[in-house]
Amino acid sequence: MAKRVVIDPVTRIEGHLRIEVVPENGYVKNAYSSAQMWRGLEVILQGRNPDDAWMFVQRICGVCTTVHALASVRSVENALQLEIPYNAQMIRNIIIAAHALHDHIVHFYHLSALDWVDIVSALKADPQKAAKIAESYQDWKLNGASVFKAVQDKLRKFVESGQLGPFANGYWGHPAMKLSPEVNLIAVTHYLQALDYQRKATQAVAILGGKFPHIQNLAVGGVSTAINLDNEATLNMERLYYIKQLLEEVREFVHNCYLPDVIAISAFYKEWLNYGRGVDNYLAVPDLPQDTKGEVFDLPGGTIIGGNLSTVKPIKSFNDPYFINNVAENITHSWYKGDWTRHPWEEDTIPEYTGMPGGYVDGNEKYSWSKAPRFRHNGNYIPMQVGPLAQVLVGYAQGHKLTKKYVDQALSMLSSLAGTKADINALQSTPGRHIARAIRAQMLSDLALKQWEQLVDNVGRGDYEIFNPPSYPAGEIKGCGFHEAPRGTLSHWCVIENGKLKNYQAVVPSTWNASPRDGKGQMGPYEASLIGNPIAEPEKPLEVLRTVHSFDPCIACAVHMVDTEGEEIVKVKAL
């Protein structure tokens, strides 16, 4: 008789997430993913100005702020086949890189680390010993016994106050927690320091975008960030150097603190390198365009099928039919009217909520607000995992220099800390997703400064151009804009008729990853990755959180894991 464990809400994500797991002999047996919030933005956009769409859709998410705005202007520009000025491309690129750096830092330290790190255990640490351990695997300027001791004192006072606030009722002392008190103390210290470094990254975004979250400097045709080296109200030398300094500080944190922390924690939990692989078809799109058309990129994209790197097939440009023609969404198990697999330009979005009879998912019925994005491969529609792991694997498989450099470095550090040989396949796992994210952050921290230099060089040549005004033709045009966002491949699809939006669809990274089963019964990546996941205490399903969090869920939705094979339904009350 299997029990059913309900986790609702899942916290430390964007949005509302519900999980149900069926443990069997200490492992998860089956899983369903179900989204439970819908806001109707696709409907709200109909009939509005394409110029305004980016403002609306940016509000899809405030954690992934900027990303929908960018995908949106790119989709309208794609429909118009409108090139944007080089400066605008560089300004967008700096925003892309800096936002992703903030996002990856926050995801690891503030949304995920406490699945692996026991704060209460840190109270027992010896700060001197912690300093030695930290020194053994990283060269970070803000480590040191006195720093660790100050944090520990602070933490003790906080715990003794009896008001634990957001840390109340956590998984302290859980048998799956394996770090020593000293490593826990190092991690808690970096949790606090990371708050400051993520802020520096967003400040770089704000200098260009006017504020953060939700930038306000985009336009179909470029950006509205005025450039003039000889004016005080524009992007001038003081502003540019402020950005550079912030990017350099963040780069130092990523290379010297964030990446080594992720590798060290993964090494301490090396048995987890065998869990959480799930869907091993990977999709990433190229980004950081280096020209005005979107044909040359600093970050590569492509697909990999079945976890086999030799199957890599590149995606080369903003107009690449390999991507544009092969994306589809299925709604067999989604709360929308109908049962179809359609291309985004052909989709409609008519909500039809049928609920969950009996309060739980019935896997034969509709059970999610999330659609199921699928990619056409050899005539079949297959699920794809998107995210930093996909991007790193696709880059590695294509021999992308920067990717290869940092992947090889990370794997050699992981091998030596874990005392076991870790190869590229080790990344296809729960901790592997965190490692890939940190590797991507390393790349972006370098590339952000490269974009900055290119912008300054170009501006120095007297080019202040930032905007290429759009003009809308009569009749119908269609566009696809894609962006490799922090959580993976994002694409926006617009149909414009006589200068007004006729249809608008966003195929979001978390939709790819959190998707329910499709018409053929194929699971989405969350669902698949949870099968075989360990679960020591069904009442406190910490390990389930570990795997779900490793995807960096960003869904105003819920995920269910349900066994439909007649198990006894027990809502476990954990105290």
């Binding site: 309900v6 609306f56 405030g62 008001q163 998984y171 708050l195 993520q198 704000a206 504020k211």
Partner: protein, 358 residues
């Protein structure tokens, strides 16, 4: 409470001096005299930290993210020193049953400030947003019962926000449309400046009452005047120097953005004064107009965002003009009056509408 704990080069955390400075900044932000600093500091050091429950409904988490970017107080000081954040789904460690338990406990104890982020859908019995199997409207009513006050953070929880834009497919509304028997204060914006929210909380903790508000329930210290009244580009408006298109010479010289859609003349907020992210910016400062995100229903009333406002009060007429008077009226006397004010040379250009609609 000793705040001198964080030393040793940990950035962004508070020494005693830093703490007092933060209190001074907060005091100034609330428009209070400087002799109030000690009172603010005292309130902030209250040994029993005031409890806060934070609920998310139809939202994007942007308001929560804005808090992560705040500096005075920063998020660490806020949750470790100033308040006890007993429930907040983005930041809390506990999940599922453990999280639910925290919420029930906190509600049982009562005497908390309730913060709401996101709109509340009412259509079809509220099925469009569920948390822990309960609809947003159920959860809101339950949590409001024992709250001492409610702060609606962001335009969504204040007025319905983006999901309430036409045709409002989920029937989304703001907190004040549902809860009628509690003091509610709105801190709108998309997202609002986090310091407007933090100063509202500090005001309440210091004086045990909510700050005075305008007709839309917004604290006067933050939303008492129009963007236009404090805009650094105002002299350009007065002199008739306008940006005609992004990237043109006027744009490169920092001219007024009214003609490329700035909604500053009809938007009440302190953005030009306190700015964002501690890097001296706000949308206008980088070269983009204000979109009016602190105003109710701005998604419908302020769009298209790059079209200029059709009906503007004559500069100098003061702050009595209300946002409700703003409609899509045809250009008339007002525009002519602006034209005269803005200099005869530009009258003709001013009286022609935006080009992007043609």
């Amino acid at each position: 409470m000793d705040r001198g704990i964080f030393l040793g080069g940990i950035p962004g955390t508070t020494s005693r001096r830093g703490f007092l400075r933060a209190c001074a900044i907060a005091t100034a932000a609330m428009g209070l005299p400087m002799e109030m600093v000690s009172k603010v500091a005292e309130a902030a050091k209250d040994p029993e930290r005031p409890r806060v429950i934070w609920l998310h409904f139809q939202e994007c988490t942007g308001c929560t993210m804005s808090l992560l970017e705040a500096s005075h107080p920063d998020i660490a000081s806020l949750i470790l020193d100033l308040i006890s954040l007993d429930y907040q789904e983005t930041l809390m460690v506990a999940a599922g049953e453990q999280a639910e338990e925290n919420l029930h406990k906190a509600i049982e104890e009562g005497n908390y400030i309730l913060v709401v982020e996101g709109g509340i859908p009412l259509k079809d019995d509220g099925v469009y947003c569920k948390v822990a199997g309960k609809t947003a409207v159920e959860s809101l009513k339950k949590a409001a019962e024992k709250a001492v006050a409610i702060i609606a953070i962001g335009t969504c929880s204040a007025y319905g926000g983006i999901q309430a834009a036409k045709p409002n497919p989920t029937g989304a509304v703001g907190v004040q449309d549902i809860i009628k028997d509690k003091p509610i204060i709105n801190v709108p914006g998309c997202p609002p400046n986090p310091h407007n929210f933090l100063s509202t909380i500090l005001y309440y903790l210091t004086f045990k009452k909510l700050p005075p508000t305008d007709r839309w329930g917004r604290p006067l210290f933050a939303y008492g005047r129009k963007i236009h009244d404090h805009c650094e580009r105002r002299p350009h408006f007065d002199e008739g120097r306008f940006v005609e298109q992004f990237g043109d010479i006027g744009h490169q010289l920092g001219y007024c953005l009214y003609k490329v859609g700035c909604k500053g003349p009809e938007t009440y907020s302190n953005c030009p004064v306190i700015r964002f992210n501690d890097v001296e910016v706000w949308p206008v400062s980088v070269g983009n107009g204000c979109y009016g995100c602190t105003e109710p229903n701005f998604w419908d009333t302020m769009a298209p965002f790059h079209d200029r406002l059709p009906n503007i009060k004559i500069p100098g007429a003061g702050i009595q003009a209300s946002a409700t008077e703003f409609g899509k009226a045809a250009l008339g006397v007002t525009a002519a009056a602006i034209a005269i004010h803005a200099g005869i040379g530009v009258a003709k250009r001013l009286a022609t509408g935006s080009k992007s609609e043609e």
